[in-house]
């Protein structure tokens, strides 16, 4: 699993069978200090996250297992909204108090 910050919403009307109604968000993977690592990616949202939220995601096949139905072509899923990390300079939620 890894950390990310939600950057925006993906609107896609036509999706693979089983993905109808799923919410897709654009997420920037970050380290524990909120510094961007790697490239922006689209992820299925399973926890009603919103733009600016610090979240954690699961990748690969386990991303599909977070979905219902689970036999879907997905390789990243948001599975939690992070409230806090106990490190000296933790990541913060951009744009939120």
């Amino acid at each position: 699993m890894y950390l990310g910050i939600v950057k925006g919403t993906v609107v896609a009307e036509r999706k693979y069978a089983g993905l109808e109604g799923t919410k897709l968000l654009m997420v920037q993977p970050v380290d524990e200090h909120g510094m961007a690592v790697g490239d922006l990616q689209a992820a299925v949202d399973r926890v009603q996250a919103g733009p600016g939220d610090l979240v954690y995601l699961v990748g690969s096949r386990e991303a599909a297992l977070a979905c219902d139905p689970w036999f879907v072509p997905v390789d990243a899923a948001i599975v939690g909204i992070v409230d806090g990390i106990d490190v000296p300079n933790p990541a913060t939620r951009e744009g939120k108090p």
Binding site: M1, V37, V47, Y56, V58, A63, L65, I85, V87
Partner: protein
């Protein structure tokens, strides 16, 4: 498995039900000398690891499902499975 250092605990109130009651930690991969290498990631803990501990982290889903015994539909990949006393490099 990855050789990692436990950076710190992480809290999340809103999460997938499979994570209920499982401690979440941010871990930093290390090389054989103990220096940071690569990017930190999130793992659940099964061995009561503490902050600063050097640990072994399983980063694969099937092994994690076998450990957790919660069935086959568990969206968890990374699990701390051991506390390392030392590495002889």
């Amino acid at each position: 498995m990855r050789y990692c250092r436990v950076v710190g605990p992480m809290w999340a109130a809103v999460k997938h039900p499979a994570f209920a009651g499982k401690p979440l930690f941010v871990v930093q991969p290390l090389d054989e000398t103990g220096a940071d290498v690569g990017t930190s990631f999130v793992a659940i803990d099964t061995v009561q690891a503490g902050v600063g501990d050097k640990v072994l982290v399983l980063t694969e889903g099937t092994g994690t499902r076998q450990i957790l015994k919660q069935g086959d539909i568990v969206p968890i990949r990374s699990t701390i499975v051991g506390v390392v006393d030392h590495v002889e490099a």
